[in-house]
Symmetry: D2
Subunit: 152 residues, 4 copies
């Protein structure tokens, strides 16, 4: 049966507080979905992958360059696209549901793609754009993820 995928997006630089948030989110997401996709690099991408693996899930890193070593050490499966920022499309399109953590323009482009594709995007202290589902806590985010994963 097809695996469900959650993507988590957010900055490659982040504060310790956001890092902790991402780690915590990842750990709890692993109880809800079997696969995490992300951009595979540092910051939010690394912290969430670490948490998700701690929680027992499988992590996929869809990276911008061609070198698999570009991926952080918590990525199980690297898809080295060589597409640069165009890989953002793939990060969100692979997902059944997306959670956005704080990030800058790259994160914004990914949120925009979610809206364009009609993929539910949950903003946890991230950009507030019409169409996103705003939440304030990891618990709320998890609740929304569960709600958006259509039962099969």
């Amino acid at each position: 049966m097809r695996k469900r995928i959650v993507s988590v997006i957010g900055g490659h630089n982040c504060t310790e507080e956001v890092e902790q948030l991402a780690h915590n989110l990842g750990k709890k997401l692993a109880k809800v979905v079997s696969i995490l996709a992300c951009g595979g690099l540092s910051g939010v991408m690394k912290a969430v992958a670490k948490g998700f693996k701690t929680g027992g899930g499988l992590t996929i890193g869809i990276t911008p360059g061609y070198n698999k070593n570009e991926a952080n050490s918590f990525i199980d499966v690297v898809i080295p696209t060589g597409l640069g920022l165009a890989r953002n499309v793939l990060v969100v399109k692979s997902a059944d549901v997306v959670v956005a953590l704080p990030g800058e323009a790259g994160t914004l482009s990914e949120i925009a793609y979610c809206l364009q594709f009609g993929i539910p995007v949950i903003s946890l202290k991230s950009w507030d754009i019409p169409g996103v589902i705003k939440v304030d806590t990891v618990e709320e985010a998890i609740r929304e993820v569960k709600a958006k994963l259509k039962p099969r």
Copy 2:
């Protein structure tokens, strides 16, 4: 000598008012830059290409599909990427300066890419995101385009 390129982004559906704005913008841009790039489809993309051609410029349409006929009839040169929405990256990265007209999530993704690349993006009644140059009239937009085109 390398040609200067301006990209204009905006919705594939637009009101008659925005269509008029895009046409007017295109016509005036053609006096300032020799080449216009855009997404090549309908709405803002078609109106601005029509105006730019009226003004005497050359238009490039960087389209999402593989069929050249997808491009509107005011596009001189079609680059049919087949990349879907990932082609948004190319539309803005080709440009020395970008003007954003009203549009939805697709336009937002393109503005986000401009910010990430450091390409100046002038928002003419479009999204108001930190980092864009907000203007209210075609004249102001043209003035900003001129200012951003570094003399060589």
Copy 3:
């Protein structure tokens, strides 16, 4: 620890004989590598995924369109790229080693990318291009895959 990936490429239409070959190859590859990547569609891609799953492995389909349902039913994880034929690059670049089965121009483009990237490509009754490792049986292919997977 990073998962090893084998990619199998080949035609989306194939004879029953090649289908059997692909299925058999997939089944045996699953004993050697934990993850199979492929283009996710029909023909060789479907038969090899079916075999690989029978053998107990995890299958990733890197598909050209945006619709996850485009993937065959033996794909566990769909990466719906929307990149059209440009997704061929990702299919081979994800792999540590590639096996080519009979196919037409699409398969040839993927073999060419392997050669350009320096990814070992084993041709099992497929294109005979300078640089590929020609083999005639599934057993030989498996032996070459094992040899090319660098021990860690």
Copy 4:
């Protein structure tokens, strides 16, 4: 009216003889088609662009990276894709007809894409793959280009 585009493909390293061939081809192509597309880099791409400009045409370079300066100095319009080798698809798909000069695996991937798309590809001392139109001289290549450009 939509501009016709010819793409010329070939190695980024080439012998002086091939360089001369590419330059000569470019110069003569400019009398037949108004726009040349190519990969924008060195070797065949540079020589053909130089010839095409000498002949009075407009040159487009569809480059793999994000830096416009990566393009050779005979490129009028740079489309800096950032797509790496996936940009090969765009180089050939932009064209009404393609001429292949000697090159290695990159050139082979482009020929393969032509065959897959059904774009006529004329091989001038390049790869001999079923489906290409083999020619031995620039004159023959020009004659084939003319034949393939459908009258409108």
